[in-house]
């Protein structure tokens, strides 16, 4: 893997580690208020200072890593699963199903997502479930369209046609032969989507529309800092740094992966093409 990919992996791994084992690293419980240390500056006692309730900012950011990252990963996974099923079926089967579903995709993509989020979450309230639901409802369409486009290219490739001609079922041809060919590009796409999901969660929480205000989450920590960022800038700077470094790491990882995974090599696994061509020739097909 190229160096940028390795750097990206390390940064991402560090944040994943914080998300998984952060409570062992955090110096204080994230919700513990210390009224004698309200808005304390960064010090050896509180590395990143304290907020308006005297809560340790570093501990809250570590706890926020778990919340933000956990939710973003869950959203990305659900989006990927939905998009994979819908996109691959549409791309592989084509026809009327494809036409109808793609119009739904068009309609979903045409919606102003952020505005809709403000209305939806403002009216029904925030919280993990509502935020998850909204991000999945609006996030699957773009992924599904890209997967559908990739699959619709792959399905016309010779080895897929050859598979069909030797009697492979549609399901087997799609899930065992066509889909693996688009998975590497999907992985890169997913990393970028994850960045988008993190930004969406943070932005909505920053606007007071996301998770419960008590939840330690990066956007909420930023929201809390709104009234203090001219007078106590560290409350703003450290959460912003956390978000920036994490998304930077994800971008590096995606770029590195893109370089590492030679798309053509994965799209046309040489042995499989050879084998399929031979099989097709043996059965007298002219499609191989």
């Amino acid at each position: 893997m190229p160096r940028i990919g390795i750097a990206g992996s390390l940064i991402t791994a560090l944040f994943l580690l914080l998300a998984l084992a952060g409570d062992r690293v955090a110096p204080y419980p994230p919700a513990a208020a210390h009224y004698d240390r309200v808005l304390a500056e960064p010090s050896s006692q509180h590395w990143m200072g304290t907020d308006h309730l005297g809560r340790d900012l570093f501990s809250r950011l570590i706890a926020g890593t778990r919340t933000t990252l956990g939710l973003a990963l869950a959203v990305a996974a659900a989006n990927a699963a939905l998009a994979l099923v819908i996109g691959s079926l549409c791309g592989f089967l084509g026809g009327r199903l494809d036409a109808i579903v793609m119009r739904i995709v068009d309609a979903t993509l045409a919606l102003p997502g952020f505005l809709l989020a403000i209305c939806f979450l403002g009216l029904f309230g925030g919280g993990i479930f509502h935020l998850f639901l909204f991000l999945v409802l609006t996030g699957w369409a773009q992924l599904a369209r890209i997967i559908r486009n990739e699959i619709s290219i792959v399905r016309h490739l010779d080895y897929i046609t050859a598979n069909a001609s030797v009697g492979y079922s549609t399901g087997r041809n799609l899930f065992r032969h066509a889909l693996p060919a688009v998975l590497p590009s999907l992985l890169i796409l997913l990393l970028n989507t994850l960045v988008g999901d993190v930004f969406a969660i943070v932005s909505l929480s920053f606007l007071g529309l996301g998770l419960s205000p008590q939840t330690p989450e990066w956007g909420i920590v930023l929201f809390d800092a709104r009234s203090f960022f001219l007078t106590n800038p560290w409350l703003f700077v450290f959460p912003a740094l956390f978000i920036a470094v994490f998304t930077f790491g994800l971008h590096l990882l995606a770029d590195g992966l893109r370089e590492w995974l030679d798309a053509k090599k994965w799209l046309f696994p040489a042995e499989e093409v050879q084998l399929l061509t031979a099989t097709a020739s043996a059965s007298g097909s002219d499609t191989a």
Binding site: G125, G208, P213, D224, R226, S227, L230, T231
Partner: protein, 501 residues
């Protein structure tokens, strides 16, 4: 050479971006949201715009004083009122103020009760112009606090040309020092000087209310010189006060205003359906602690429902200090503290909620904070989908009537179908309330309202937390800037003593 020109251009551009606004004829006031309330509202534009006036207005002690009416008299039975109007008043379309015009305005509210927000004229029997400048109002029952009720912030008097056949205003044509010009959604509301204002031509030709929802951005705009004044809901967050005070070009002022912040219990849902639970919760409240830790000067611990300057109602019914022996009721799941998102940013409820959640969480009563858009919050509160909520209320008529109607009277507000927000119901409160609003004299009304407040202080469907201390800021050199108890600036009094260079 090209490089030099490029650098120069960038430098000029940057200096233009950072330069102050120097138009001395226009006053720019930073506000959190538009003053324009729309034509479904009886006054269309908020009182702060100084476009319209009322017959009376409330002073700092919430006592009515003359505005369009010079004086007034009441009959011994409290049913007949006579208002004597000023003779030098013109409306912005040139129409002179007359008794007939005021009668038309009052009949408009009687005919369209949906516009009469506090049901002032629900029992009006007749309104007549006794002469050119005297209005006589007869009521079916005594209305002893009428001067306060015709001075509130939905009781504007408008030129008849502005009133449509449906009773709604087509445009807010009033007699105030400024005429309404235009509103741009999300950008500004603009008014221009009314040259023939009865108080004399205002100093500023134009006043722009610039909408800057985020308080921190408002502060930065003031520091940059983009705006001249910050004075609206939320004002200057207290966290920025020391920084602004250190700036020689800025003046920061504060005032105790007629706004009290209440904690509302849902009296129809456990655990706060039980009076005992509400009482324990209230006794545990550390109002002083909250004022010093969280409010840090932006509020004073409330020891009664009303601000202390409203002396008629102040009996120190609540302790500002906690009862350390009290313990909260147990709840099987966290109680929901539901907040309105607009109140969260305008009034800093986010931080108060955090404090309450932490304070009661430590005492064994977990609180979950939830927030909704303002309209959805109001609906949720009406439907009782909360355990606790925070709510600001002022005393626009100078009595506790609105407070009791909104939070304890079982029929709630008469107009707009708004029930009381706590779900509390008490035949005793209802009966006393009916007696108070129809009391034959002020002393009898005061006695009944105070009896209700005593009862509510025992029953506690809602409790006061703190009274608002409002911070506002303006550029040094401006004079005449002072907010009234309802956050209104008298724009006609503002002028540059020493305009900025």
């Amino acid at each position: 050479m090209k490089m030099c020109a490029g650098i120069l251009s960038v430098a000029l551009l940057l200096s233009a971006c950072s330069s102050s606004r120097h138009n001395r004829d226009t006053l720019v006031i930073g506000i959190s949201g538009s003053l324009n309330l729309g034509t479904n509202n009886p006054v269309v534009i908020q009182r702060n715009a100084n476009v319209w006036e009322t017959l009376t207005e409330l002073d700092d002690s919430l006592t009515p004083r003359p505005q369009l009416a010079e004086s007034w008299q009441v009959s011994p039975d409290g049913r007949q009122w006579t208002f004597h109007l000023r003779k030098d008043v013109q409306f912005q379309d040139g129409t002179p103020l007359s008794a007939a015009l005021v009668v038309d305005n009052i009949r408009r509210l009687k005919a369209h009760p949906e516009l009469d927000y506090y049901s002032t004229f629900a029992h009006l029997a007749s309104a007549t112009a006794r002469d050119e400048s005297s209005v006589e109002l007869r009521f079916e029952r005594p209305l002893v606090d009428l001067p306060g009720k015709v001075g509130h912030y939905f009781a504007g008097i408008f030129s008849p040309s502005a009133i449509g056949p449906d009773g709604k205003l087509r445009a807010p044509v009033g007699s105030g020092p400024y005429e309404f010009v235009e509103s741009r959604i999300g950008q500004y509301d603009r008014v221009k000087a009314f040259e023939r204002f009865h108080g004399g031509r205002p100093f500023f030709r134009e006043v722009e209310f610039r909408i800057i929802p985020d308080p921190a951005v408002r502060v930065m705009s003031l520091l940059r010189g983009d705006i001249d004044v910050i004075a609206h809901h939320g004002g200057v967050p207290v966290s920025y006060v020391p920084m602004l005070k250190a700036k020689p070009e800025i003046v920061v002022a504060s005032q105790d205003v007629a706004i009290t912040h209440y904690l509302l219990f849902n009296c129809k849902r456990r655990p706060f359906a039980e009076r005992d639970c509400r009482d324990k919760f209230d006794r545990m409240l550390d109002r002083n602690g909250m004022a010093s830790t969280i409010l840090r000067g932006s509020g004073t611990a409330a020891h009664d429902f009303m601000i202390s300057s409203a002396v008629r109602w102040d009996r120190s019914r609540f302790s500002p200090s906690p009862d350390t022996q009290a313990r909260p009721c147990e709840a099987s799941q966290p109680v929901v503290l539901l907040l309105s998102q607009s109140d969260m940013s305008s009034w800093g409820y986010r931080y108060v909620a955090d404090y309450l959640a932490d304070y009661f969480g430590r005492a064994g009563l977990p609180i979950r904070i939830e927030s909704l858009e303002a309209g959805a919050w109001q609906k949720a509160v009406q439907q009782g989908q909360f355990d606790l909520t925070l709510y600001p209320l002022s005393m626009p008529t100078g009595t506790p009537e609105l407070l009791i109607r909104r939070l304890a009277f079982s029929k709630g507000m008469r107009v707009r179908g708004i029930g009381n927000s706590t779900g509390y119901s008490s035949p005793e409160v209802d009966s006393l309330f009916d007696e108070a609003v129809g009391a034959p004299n002020l002393a009898a009304q005061e006695a009944r309202f105070n009896a209700i407040l005593d009862l509510l202080a025992r029953e506690k469907p809602f409790v006061p937390l703190y009274h608002e201390r409002y911070y506002y800021a303006y550029r040094r050199g401006l004079t005449g800037i002072r907010v009234d108890p309802f956050l209104k600036l008298d724009l006609a009094a503002i002028r540059w003593e020493r305009p900025p260079r």
